[in-house]
Amino acid sequence: MRQLFSRTLQTTVLFLIIGGIVALAFGGYFRPLSNWVSAAWVTTQTWISSRYLAVQQFLTAPQDIAALRQRNAELEAQVSQLQSQVIELQQQVADREILAALVRYSRANPTNTYKAAQVIGRDPSPFMHYIIINAGSNDGLRRGMPVVTHRGLVGRVEAVIDNAARVQLITDPNSSVNVRLQNSRTEAVLIGSVTADLYLDMIPQDAQAIVGDLVLTSGLGGVFPPNIPVGQVLDVRKREAELFQQATLKPTVDFNQLSIVLVILNFTPVDISPLIPTVTP
């Protein structure tokens, strides 16, 4: 019993001593000693902590790289998907702008009935300037119908099948269109060329052809309706020795960028070939 009491007393005294030292230390009475101890503590803990973090990083880093790579691949896929969406939307915007312009054009010319068609191809021969459109006889297209865009004259339907048609562009070397200069109201003939350049021929010598003049269809011959814009005069060649002046023309339509065109359905070309006199021996 006495032995048990003695041990308890020793323990209690020991706790009181240690507690007193700690209390004195917290009270700042052992500052040099506590500084040394805390510095050693912090140093040790910092060293252990840094080594732990290094080991942890070493163990977990490959997983992070794999996860990052996967995430990166996902994001790259997402970016490419968004880019393709942007391109698609830009194309839709461009198409809508063209369609809106065509609608405005058709509203401005209510007397005509139009059929919009998409350009789906070009003539395989570089000598022929034709386009292929995705509307045909099922849509009411017939041979000879004029084709326009909101910018001006494109050409005329040359061949038709059920659901497609071939359109001869006015730049084709075999194409000729009766036109007039808007300012001077002078009649002339527009001809295409193998290099897709447009030329005005048969301008009378006494006519005033000025650079920048707007050229419109004249309607003469009944092949095209009148007053459709064709282009602007780029330069005029006038030689005294020749019967007529010639001019080069800048077309209002960009034939390299044709995507959607309008076919004028209610214009029936006049066939004047029976009226052309033939030479009989």
Partner: protein, 164 residues
């Protein structure tokens, strides 16, 4: 039976020619995918149905093009005949192909000029050869390099050799 692959291949080539390659122009010329195909095909040593391919190809292009159809047939059958001759005379398949393409492009210029002449259309030979024939020839040769392997493999598949 494998030679029936001509139908889908030639249809695809005609569509690609009209929808794509005719729009990719250099000056006023563009590549003639059908001519390239027929040149590589007809000069391949194992091919035995070169004329059938040429006739079908010419027919498809004649259908699409406003160029007079007899001239279109001449445009594709003459190079095929030349290819058959060169195949027997030259060992190099690539060299024969390039010679056929060269001759085909020049022939295209001659036929085109002849047609424009009959139309009484104003044109100059220098324009035709400078703006159409030369750029077309250049594009044809550039396109031949990647297509050569593809079409040669197709020919090897259609006409398997002794080692297969």
């Amino acid at each position: 039976m494998r030679s029936l692959i001509a139908f889908p291949v030639l249809f695809l080539v005609a569509i690609l020619q009209s929808a794509l390659f005719s729009r990719l122009s250099l000056l006023s010329g563009h590549a003639d995918l059908m001519l390239i195909l027929l040149a590589i095909w007809s000069t391949h040593p194992r091919v035995t149905h070169a004329w059938e391919w040429a006739l079908l190809g010419a027919m498809l292009i004649a259908f699409l093009s406003a160029f007079p159809w007899p001239l279109t047939f001449v445009l594709y059958l003459v190079p095929t005949a030349l290819a058959q001759t060169l195949r027997a005379a030259l060992r190099s398949h690539m060299l024969s192909t390039l010679l056929v393409l060269f001759a085909g492009s020049i022939l295209m210029g001659i036929l085109g000029s002849g047609y424009l002449f009959t139309l009484q259309s104003a044109f100059s030979i220098s324009d035709i050869f400078g703006e159409i024939v030369s750029p077309s020839l250049l594009l044809n040769i550039l396109l031949t390099l990647p297509l050569f392997i593809l079409i040669t493999r197709l020919a090897n598949w259609v006409y398997p050799g002794e080692e297969e």
